[in-house]
Symmetry: C2
Subunit: 392 residues, 2 copies
Amino acid sequence: MNEWHIAEGYRFAGVISKLRTEPDRRDLAVIVSDRPATAAGVFTQNRVCAAPVQICRERLPRADARAVVICSGNANACTGEQGLADARRMAELVANDIGCAPEQVLVASTGVIGRPLPMPILEAGIPKATAALRPGADAFNDAAHAILTTDTRIKVSTKLVGTHSISGFAKGAAMIGPNMATMLGFLFTDAAVEAQDLQDILRRSTADTFNCISVEGHTSTNDTVLILANGAGPALTGKALQSFEKSVREVCAELARAIAEDAEGAQHLITINVEGCRTDADARTIAKAIAESALVKTAVFGADPNWGRVVSAAGYAGVEFEERDLSLWMGSFLLYERGVPVPFDAKLASAYLRDNRNVDFRVTLELGMGRCTFYTCDLTTDYVNLNADYTT
Amino acid sequence: MNEWHIAEGYRFAGVISKLRTEPDRRDLAVIVSDRPATAAGVFTQNRVCAAPVQICRERLPRADARAVVICSGNANACTGEQGLADARRMAELVANDIGCAPEQVLVASTGVIGRPLPMPILEAGIPKATAALRPGADAFNDAAHAILTTDTRIKVSTKLVGTHSISGFAKGAAMIGPNMATMLGFLFTDAAVEAQDLQDILRRSTADTFNCISVEGHTSTNDTVLILANGAGPALTGKALQSFEKSVREVCAELARAIAEDAEGAQHLITINVEGCRTDADARTIAKAIAESALVKTAVFGADPNWGRVVSAAGYAGVEFEERDLSLWMGSFLLYERGVPVPFDAKLASAYLRDNRNVDFRVTLELGMGRCTFYTCDLTTDYVNLNADYTT
């Protein structure tokens, strides 16, 4: 953990509130900025969105955020008016402890949909968390653990940009379908950035990072990415702001890739590069269709170089092209060239899929400069078993 | 089989050509109309579409069709110019044997993508099939068997309409993603119907039948539904044509449902009814999003009444609605009412999913009269295992 760059002026806590049934799982995180911070967020585009998402949407962007509170084990989604009241109460409990207005506190939740939050647990847990707040990597690590659900490990990415740090963590292992932000991600920086700049940077940074991953294409009700910037002094502008944006994008990209890598039951991280489209949007549409094909994903699980499934998924994506424009590589194997199958060694190609945890497909068209890199995972029997019994 | 209504003036054959590796599997079907028949077709909307689809598109609709030839085990898709030449040759071989022009013969193929057709097998097999042509239910049964791939059983539906018969068969168990016609379906009738009427009837009939099923949402390269009408005398008009259309739709619906029921590895047929939308198209969009959610499908496999997954899938479908407009039933259990979870007996609800092979979800909105019934299946570990090793 000694390489982590933890932003100054933040304190972190991740505690065991017993929201989760496992007795030793941290399940409640609070992050406090000692100074008012500019804050921005991007959220799920699901019409059914969780109470904390609705509360954050009301409150962002803003220039005086003080804290974020996150619980795992319960999504507080599909919970009606009570859910909104409960999310507001979570913020209020933090505000009371740190001495600020409730509106300066942001809220996120993740877990099972449709169950009321057990508020007595949070009434006791939030004071416990605010009492545990500390600066530095250990406390940051606790918070990164406290937001996990079926994840097998924390997702952390930190960067130095000039004299400032950007420190991010995220969670997500299923119900990952990109549409704006995907799952929960939190970035903290001690740079000074105008709230609107922060919002624009976050929107652009999530477009080709968190929005270019998929586990099964099911867009969650709770997807949220928040960024707080608490720098003192004049806000970044010009080249410094550009460098800052580049680092934010890198942090988002690393966190997004970590989510796809840790997908439920996954044995492979699959990288799909699509190039040569008329637009980047076309490339993303094709990459997403391939990434979300159960037939492509089971073929990778089975180490089956079944390129026909990749080509046919590209074909139904909805982008206009002719078959003769399309070529496909799997790793270094050219399998399909300008509409014609290329003879290849099926045993070697199968071994490539079997022996590499990270595998890649490259689809090229000859229509323009549009491109996209999309991350997904294989579809395994473990994924099916994990998801066949989740609530009951 | 004595209930089957087999259209007059057709002869059928399904033979073992050894295109498939299993020595005892029928894999080549020929159907001949003794009179010139009007013929219409609907096809995959995949940009990558198989050679036989391209040939049929060129030839349809027409008023003088004489035959259909179908092979299973090889899709003749992604096979370039050679594939087109091979598909044309299949038609020509039949035309030579029955004495008609090659353009009067339609072609379909299904199986592995991207392998050239083994033409010596077809050069020998097609004469064998044309020699075996016979009228009646036994020969129809042979043809229905010869088009199967991973299907576990034939899909047949026949109807009497007035003095005429409509006899249909279909195949499909995976790579089922509705977009125009889905997989292979063939309807034969001894009614007299104008070619353009036949095309319109087929298009309308597939829209809410073959286009409302999904196994995993992967639109095949080969999807084809053909209908031939060889009736002598004046073509149907008015009420008789309407009755005919109703029966065509019923045949399409029964065949489509049979495909969803026999989906690879499936343990449940899931019927999704969506009602109360602004338009039928909106209802279909929501039904399709639910039907194609891996999380919904694994929950049914696990007998987990995880209604949050159904509600959240409706939410990301892309149709505008407010959560308070939405209610959800699973069988007779009301789980979610106008945006609020309803307490229910989880054990009983789980037993409903566990003990019924056919289960249904009903989503109601309060925005209009638009509705859709959509069929899908659960996602099982058997599906993953079946698809993890298909070509190799």
